[in-house]
């Protein structure tokens, strides 16, 4: 019972406890709820900062609770979990702020923020999971806690979206569960180990392993929205903007991508994956998803749907980088895990601002909006340019590492994919920017609501500005210590002993 035992638990409880208390708050307890939300988010940030510092200095943090024989609930912090947990706790802070501003007058706020906190707890649990079973436990908890968020509005449309979302994710859970149970009967407790746990396991028939690998990747691929398992994501757009932001940047999609990283690097291990020959199909699938998502994004007029398809495309960079099985590409993938989160959350915040302030949902309605909401559109522009990969924004850094890694891995075709994808990114983002900044306003705004002296409520304005600044900073200061890219390098160094 000491600090290294309690820190992971405290990090988990900081949002879980707050979530449970919030459930039972009456609807009108606005002030208590807000205080509790922000206090929990701040506390989590502080605890995570302590964790980052500790892990950087090779402290180990481990919490173990035996469940069944050969099955423990294991929370452990390694460099990879720290990367993800930092991302999620920082973005949770801003998303909470944003959500408070966004949902000011809507019903069921206690329920919303309760599940919101549960959702973040699940994400933190995924980050800290020290074995595959713990990962699965929190992975399913994430499914359960996001369902009420997706259907929050309670309309027919959102319920339908919720049903589709559940159908996909529960199916993914089942695949993951089956693969996991199978692997456990063959290889014993599935603790994540550097270099893969299979290295020390008794030899297993490679054909069986290939099936298990497919099951596991398909299981997490649903949340990571790998084509053809992506169908739920555009549907889930009916959720309120803070939920979309959370789903796309922090929680669900990222949990899937993170799962791919864990399975390839810490369960099977890079060497084993290379030996099995399953990396190349994964890389092709990821590449296909990148192109497919971008092409579909081109044809969406609904702003949030376009962003959704963009997510499908962008998240697969992570899978691609991992599947290249090369340290430099791994750096790119890890860095993109953070960078994509920062940029995408900015974009969703801005989309939410447009919807909430001016009632704009479609790109065709955006003409001249840059004049009306300059700050929001500045943040949006930074995010969009980052997505395209314009230097010195964060997106450029990850794409550069990915490309360099591809060359080192002698997979030059990936460069073509990256280039094509960047062109497509530009093709669906630049027209939005052009229309917002340079087209004159033609029609009145669909539904304008005044929110104070600023262009919109400060709680809606501040988060996207900060996250946009962070996306810029992550690119400019990519070589500063503790920057995402630098931390990704640390992970790659520990994952690949001799790069």
């Amino acid at each position: 019972m000491n600090w290294s035992f309690w820190l992971p638990v405290l990090i988990l409880l900081s949002s879980l406890g707050a979530g449970i208390v919030i459930f039972f708050l009456p609807q009108r307890a606005y002030r208590t709820r807000t205080t509790l939300n922000m206090a929990a988010a701040t506390l989590k940030l502080l605890l995570v900062a302590a964790l980052v510092w500790g892990v950087f200095h090779h402290q180990s943090y481990e919490t173990r609770l035996p469940l069944l024989p050969e099955m423990d609930l294991l929370l452990r912090a390694d460099t990879l979990s720290v990367l993800f947990i930092t991302l999620s706790s920082i973005l949770w802070f801003f998303t909470t702020l944003y959500a408070i501003g966004y949902l000011e007058a809507s019903p069921h706020r206690s329920r919303f923020f309760g599940f919101f906190s549960l959702c973040v707890s699940a994400t933190v649990g995924i980050a800290l999971a020290g074995n595959l079973i713990t990962f699965f436990i929190f992975y399913e908890m994430l499914t359960l806690s996001t369902y009420p968020l997706v259907t929050h509005r309670g309309t027919k449309k959102s319920l339908r979206a919720g049903k589709i979302y559940l159908g996909y994710t529960l199916m993914g859970g089942v695949l993951l569960l089956t693969g996991m149970a199978w692997l456990q009967t063959l290889a014993g407790p599935l603790s994540f180990t550097e270099g893969g746990l299979l290295a020390e396991a008794p030899p297993i028939d490679p054909q069986t392993l290939t099936i298990i690998f497919t099951l596991l990747i398909a299981g997490v691929g649903v949340k990571a929205a790998l084509v053809p398992l992506h169908g739920w994501l555009p549907q889930a757009m009916v959720a309120p903007a803070p939920v979309s932001a959370l789903l796309h940047a922090v929680a669900v999609v990222k949990a899937g991508a993170f799962g791919i990283v864990r399975i390839v690097d810490n369960v099977f291990g890079v060497e084993f994956v290379a030996k099995l020959g399953v990396a190349a199909p994964l890389a092709w699938l990821a590449s296909f998803t990148i192109i497919y998502g971008s092409v579909r994004a081109l044809f969406q007029d609904d702003l949030k749907r376009r962003l959704a398809y963009s997510t499908i495309s962008q998240v697969s960079y992570i899978a691609l980088g991992i599947a290249l099985l090369n340290p430099v590409a791994t750096i790119g993938a890890m860095a993109h895990l953070v960078h994509q989160g920062l940029m995408k959350i900015t974009l969703f915040f801005c989309a939410g601002n447009l919807a909430q302030t001016l009632g704009i949902h479609r790109i065709s309605e955006m003409a001249g909006v840059g004049r009306r909401m300059p700050w929001t559109m500045t943040a949006f522009t930074l995010g969009a340019l980052g997505m395209i990969g314009v230097p010195p924004l964060a997106g450029f850094i990850s794409k550069w590492y990915l490309g360099y890694g591809a060359v080192l891995a002698e997979a030059e075709w990936v460069l073509g994919i990256l280039a094509l994808s960047s062109v497509l990114n530009a093709a669906y983002f630049l027209p939005i920017l052009y229309r917002a900044w340079f087209s004159p306003q033609k029609n009145p705004w669909p539904e304008e609501t005044s929110r104070g002296r600023l262009e919109t409520h400060w709680m809606l304005l501040l988060p996207p500005l900060i996250t946009a600044a962070m996306a810029l900073g992550a690119g400019l200061l990519a070589h500063a210590p503790f920057s995402p890219a630098e931390w990704a390098r640390l992970i790659a160094v520990r994952e690949y002993p001799s790069p």
Binding site: L67, L68, I137, G154, L159, K163, L177, A181, T185
Partner: protein, 493 residues
């Protein structure tokens, strides 16, 4: 622990207490609730004390009045009995509180005064069955369970309830007679009804096999395994809510418990792989059939009842999964954990469903929209219970399902593995079918009856227990090990 005096005969108390309570609540009508609740707490206390004793000293054997077998009545407590007693006490405790709050009794006050005596009588019989060491007393307690349940089902006095009770009674009697005939044949052959002596005496042969078949058919009828389940949905759906909860969570488990005892401790030599596979197959069909019915029915309480039919199917997978000694203990503990998880979750879910029924004055699923706003605690309880029923983590249901699944895969029995996984998906289908209405926007002109808090919280607490057993596992697992017919082996060499 010092407070639990070693000399106190806790098993005897477990029958004397509820029986006294039943008589007192019958005689002193005015203080029914008070007496009932005190009795419930007393039973809970005694069970915990007994569990402490079993945990420290292992299986216990008591001879009532010092007479001993074959003439006297013996009681036997091992981990399995303790587990069932604990489950009964936990569910019974919350059902009792719910019974105090249950406003439905006040409406058609016919028969409501009989709830407490009958319910405590049922509790006596359940405890008796879990404690008994011989197969004839098991018959008596089984019959008492049946009689008390039938009376409870018919409590409301409405036509549908009476019909359901009548059918339940006929089925129950038929099952008991089959069982009793089997006991008679065994006595003719071996001159004893004590489980332990029978276990030593019985070898494989036509007589024990016939007897086991007869007793098995009777018990399957009572535990509502497909295709003998037809009586369950109307009986469980039409009973007053606290009764439905106790029936689904506990009463159907009692014959299953007895079947486990017979199969694994009395006649391990007479069982065959074919019979085990048949039971497993029926269980698998029950999972599919019950789930499909639950997906189609229009009434909430019926949905929960059909879910019981489906979930009972899982328990029967224990028979084929323990055939292969490699993962037998994993399957065994998985099935027992499932019993525990289902008891708590289903108890909670039925209580929640009944509260919704009461508030809406009807339970058509399509009219549930917006109930989460009016009854947030109940909606939450339903959802939590659903998590465990679906076998999603973190919950006791998940751990149970995981054990069954790994056992099936380790044995290479892929058919059962697929059924286990598929059943979870189907359960998710019917649970979310309800939840999606619950989360809908409330209709503007909805009219709800106010609900006392004593009807809301017991459901939530029961469901929470099912979730908590997903984390607190060491005590139940230790209990499962005590006196288990198969000891734990690691899956790996």
């Amino acid at each position: 622990m010092a407070i639990f005096e070693q000399s106190i005969h806790w098993p005897v108390w477990l029958m004397v207490l509820p029986l006294t309570g039943a008589l007192l609540t019958f005689a002193i009508y005015r203080y029914q609730n008070l007496i009932g609740l005190i009795t419930a707490m007393g039973i809970l206390w005694s069970v915990i004390a007994l569990a402490q004793k079993v945990l420290t000293e292992g299986p216990q054997r008591y001879s009532i009045g010092g007479w001993g077998a074959p003439l006297g009545i013996d009681l036997y407590v091992d981990g399995l009995s303790t587990l069932m007693l604990l489950l009964t006490a936990a569910v019974g405790f919350f059902v009792s509180f719910y019974g105090v709050g249950y406003a439905g009794f006040r409406q058609h006050n016919h028969g409501s005064g009989y709830f407490w005596p009958l319910w405590l009588f049922l509790w006596t019989a359940l405890n008796g069955l879990f404690l008994t060491a011989d197969i004839f007393n098991a018959y008596v307690t089984l019959e008492l369970i049946g009689l008390a349940s039938v009376a409870l089902v018919g409590l409301s006095g409405q036509a549908s309830a009476l019909n359901a009770a009548m059918r339940y009674l006929l089925v129950g009697l038929l099952g008991s007679l089959f069982y009793l005939l089997g006991v008679g044949l065994l006595y003719a052959g071996y001159h004893t009804v004590d489980m332990a002596s029978l276990g030593q005496a019985a070898q494989a042969g036509p007589l024990p096999r016939t007897a086991l078949t007869l007793m098995g058919v009777g018990l399957l009828l009572k535990t509502a395994l497909f295709p003998l389940h037809f009586w369950l949905p109307p009986a469980h759906a039409n009973a007053p809510t606290p009764v439905s909860s106790a029936l689904s969570a506990l009463v159907v488990k009692a014959p299953f418990y007895l079947l486990l005892r017979l199969w694994f401790t009395v006649f391990p030599d007479s069982t065959t792989g074919a019979a085990a596979n048949l039971l497993g197959l029926l269980g698998a069909i029950a999972i599919l059939w019950g789930s499909i019915q639950a997906l189609q029915t229009q009434r909430l309480k019926l949905l929960v009842a059909y879910s019981t039919v489906a979930q009972l199917g899982y328990l029967f997978l224990v028979f084929p999964l323990t055939q292969d000694s490699m993962a037998a203990s994993t399957a065994w503990s998985g099935a027992l954990y499932y019993t525990l998880a289902h008891g708590l979750a289903k108890g909670g879910m039925f209580l929640a469903a009944g509260t919704i029924f009461y508030a809406l004055q009807q339970d058509r699923i399509q009219n549930l929209n917006g109930i989460s706003r009016h009854l947030p605690v109940t909606a939450f309880a339903f959802g939590l219970a659903g998590v465990s029923l679906m076998g999603l983590p973190p919950s006791a249901g998940f751990l149970a399902k995981w054990s069954l699944l790994t056992a099936a895969i380790a044995n290479g029995q892929w058919g059962w593995a697929i059924i286990i996984v598929l059943g979870g998906l189907l359960a998710a289908g019917y649970v979310f079918r309800v939840l999606s209405y619950v989360f809908m926007q409330a209709p503007s002109k909805a009219h709800y009856r106010p609900v006392p808090w004593l009807m809301e919280w017991p459901a939530l607490l029961l469901a929470l227990m099912a979730i908590c057993l997903g984390f607190i596992t060491q005590t139940p697992l230790t209990l499962i090990e005590i006196g288990a017919p198969m000891s734990y082996q690691y899956l790996l060499p």
